[in-house]
């Protein structure tokens, strides 16, 4: 099977999963106590008003019909209208999604950039002081609540010494006049400055988890026969590491990278709350607190989509890293 074929098959496989995501969320929201109509119109709306709203949003139809209608709309990329913001759900999501993706990308970039060297050094100097330090850092990293790291960072670096801002995230694509600077480069620089604390807050857990997997997978590879053989031939240790061990050790890391996305998205909800960032996480919390049915289902679906796309991408990147992967058994 070729790459293109495999890609198409993986995308098709994602469809039932996404259908499941919509179904689960839709029916959970249906089970939700409280009436969206009374939220829109206040506690005691007139019967006429209520009926009008019900008819407008299709709330007077039976459940299964509403569900099928919703699915049909989703297929046409229409996620309904947000009752709270009174704009199409897709519009709200398009506004917020890039912010969360920015946060996720910067956290993963930080996590990958730190965890790979840390894991390799740790494996190379197994049971030496460097290894112990790296392992303790990783242990603390996977055991600390990300939102608390955020709080501590704010206390230390925003309140005690005013090095990094704690709120008002500047987006790299924000209009120049809004930020009050002259060039795009300045906006990006400002944005990076703002991103430091949220990135550390969200990325620490990923960094720690990746460091642990990198260390153990590196240890495993360094114990393989072909590495021993290379050593016996007198190949330099650094060459062994670079040419023989490194690539093979990255496979478990890539698998974990995809799976870490689900915890990272959850972490993003918390990080956005701590740093008052207007992303998908704060959007879904607002939607839930206001019983904004369409917005909750829509946001969950899109976050599920982000995860599925992430997993597909990691699956595909396997092929480029490890030519032995034939795709045949990957099911």
């Amino acid at each position: 099977m070729g790459r293109a074929q495999y890609t198409i098959r993986r995308i098709l496989q994602a469809i039932p999963v996404l259908l499941g995501v919509v179904t689960i969320t839709y029916f959970l929201m249906e089970a939700m106590p409280g009436d969206p109509v009374s939220i829109m119109l206040g506690p005691s709306p007139s019967a006429q008003q209520a009926a009008a709203i019900r008819a407008k949003y299709g709330l007077d139809q039976p459940l299964w019909l509403r569900y099928l209608n919703y699915l049909w709309d989703v297929v046409q990329l229409d996620l309904g209208t947000s009752l709270y913001y009174e704009v199409p759900v897709t519009q709200k999501i398009m506004e917020r999604l890039p912010v969360t993706v920015l946060l996720l990308v910067s956290s993963f970039a930080f996590a990958i950039a730190t965890s790979i060297p840390l894991g390799i050094i740790s494996a190379q100097r197994r049971n030496k002081p460097t290894d112990h330090v790296a392992r303790i850092v990783a242990l603390l990293g996977v055991s600390t609540p990300s939102f608390w790291i955020g709080l501590v960072l704010i206390i230390l670096f925003s309140y005690q010494v005013n090095w990094f801002p704690a709120t008002n995230l500047v987006l790299p694509w924000a209009p120049l006049e809004e930020v009050g600077v002259d060039s795009r480069a300045d906006v990006i620089l400002k944005s990076l400055h703002h991103l430091v604390l949220p990135t550390l807050s969200l990325g620490t857990l990923q960094m720690a988890a990746l460091t642990r997997i990198e260390r153990s997978s590196m240890l495993e590879v360094l114990g393989e026969e072909y590495v021993k053989l290379a050593r016996a031939y007198g190949v330099k240790e650094s060459t062994i590491l670079r040419k023989h061990a490194f690539r093979n050790a990255q496979l478990p890391l890539i698998t974990l990278l995809g799976l870490q996305l689900t915890s990272a998205i959850g972490g993003a909800v918390l990080t956005e709350t701590v740093f008052s960032i207007n992303g998908m996480g704060t959007l879904i919390i607002t939607a839930i607190n206001n019983q904004d049915f369409a917005l909750v289902v829509g946001t969950t679906l899109v976050l599920g989509l982000v995860f599925v796309v992430g997993v597909i991408l990691t699956d595909l990147s396997y092929a480029y890293i490890d030519p032995r992967v034939t795709f045949e058994e990957a099911d």
């Binding site: 999963v17 499941g20 689960i24 609540p145 608390w148 206390i155 689900t262 972490g267 918390l270 709350t273």
Partner: protein
């Protein structure tokens, strides 16, 4: 793995498997072996010590908060007899820890870690918050373990269509970001601790279902299972008596780590306002209250996070120690 079923004396008369590929030390599964290995492992022991202390504190809190009131004793009677009730507003608000000063006053040894925004003792609240952390971790993980075990073993053992359907369902559950799934679940059924535990339990089913399934797939082809099947042992018995006991080590490791994870998630939920409701003390909720006072009284935000960190480190240490102790590949 040929002789594994012998360890617990539960051979049940099925034929001994052929001794092919006997490259592993005999009898390295089962709880007795586990205890023996853990005793030798300092990491696991350190974890056990932390968990032991936390569990003890949680047990006292459980007794004091929930059990004794059933018998007509005033809630927090033990706390008051020894020191101070976690819900009593005993001092001025937002006092700093002992030996430090902030804009609200000077810390005293009567309240070693300071007081919260309502003048309640932080240390007492931390103690009583342990109950929620430990019980949530254990209950949620038990739920995911039991259901994950059922789903995973059925899927792996029968294979084919059943496997496809179950694993697709599990994959779907996994695709919804964990925290979001639990929040949506809690909004639908109830915004309290019970549903937080159930929600986290359900959201964690995929982890165990996948783990057990992969174990079942590898165990299924073993000779002794073949033999049991040939001897007419029923499928259900094969799964429960042979397949699951043989998955003991990795499941135990995973369960320990998942308890730590569940504690982190429920703390996050409480932080967002989906968890234990006030005035019941919980760490996540304390952190959420402390957010408004980070500038004048930073210590208030530090303590609950440290409590979470130490407890979760305990479970992670034990999990890591167990993995090292039980994985024959690392032992060499």
């Amino acid at each position: 793995m040929a002789t594994t079923t012998d360890t617990d004396g539960r051979t049940d008369g099925e034929p001994q498997a052929v001794d092919a590929e006997d490259d592993q030390p005999a009898a390295n599964v089962g709880w007795r072996y586990t205890v023996k290995q853990v005793r030798r492992d300092p990491t696991a022991l350190a974890g056990l010590a932390i968990i032991g202390v936390a569990t003890l504190v949680a047990a006292v809190a459980f007794l004091d908060q929930l059990v004794l009131p059933l018998f007509g004793v005033e809630q927090y009677a033990i706390a008051q007899a020894v020191w101070v009730s976690p819900n009593a507003e005993v001092a001025s608000q937002l006092l700093p820890p002992a030996m430090t000063t902030n804009v609200f006053g000077e810390g005293t040894w009567a309240h070693p870690l300071g007081t919260d925004d309502r003048g309640r003792d932080i240390l007492a609240r931390l103690f009583y918050g342990t109950r929620i952390a430990i019980s949530v971790g254990v209950v949620a993980t038990t739920i995911s373990l039991v259901f994950g075990m059922i789903v995973g073993s059925v899927a792996g053992y029968y294979g084919g269509r059943i496997d496809d359907v179950l694993m697709r369902a599990v994959e779907t559950l996994y695709a919804i970001p964990f925290l979001v799934l639990v929040i949506v679940f809690m909004v639908a059924f109830g915004r309290n601790l019970t549903f937080a535990m159930i929600g986290v339990g359900i959201a964690n089913i995929p982890t165990f279902a996948r783990l057990i399934r992969s174990r079942v797939l590898s165990v299924r082809e073993e000779d002794y299972i073949e033999a049991a099947r040939a001897a007419g042992v029923r499928d259900r018995n094969i799964i429960f008596r042979h397949v699951i006991p043989n998955s003991f080590a990795p499941v135990l490791v995973q369960a320990t780590l998942q308890i730590g994870l569940a504690i982190l998630i429920v703390a996050g939920l409480s932080f967002l306002g989906f968890g234990a409701q006030p005035p019941t003390p919980s760490w996540g909720q304390m952190l959420s209250q402390s957010r408004d006072y980070m500038l004048p009284d930073p210590w208030f935000s530090i303590w609950p996070g440290l409590a979470i960190l130490i407890t979760v480190v305990g479970f992670n240490l034990l999990g890591d120690g167990l993995r090292d102790a039980l994985d024959p590949r690392i032992n060499n």
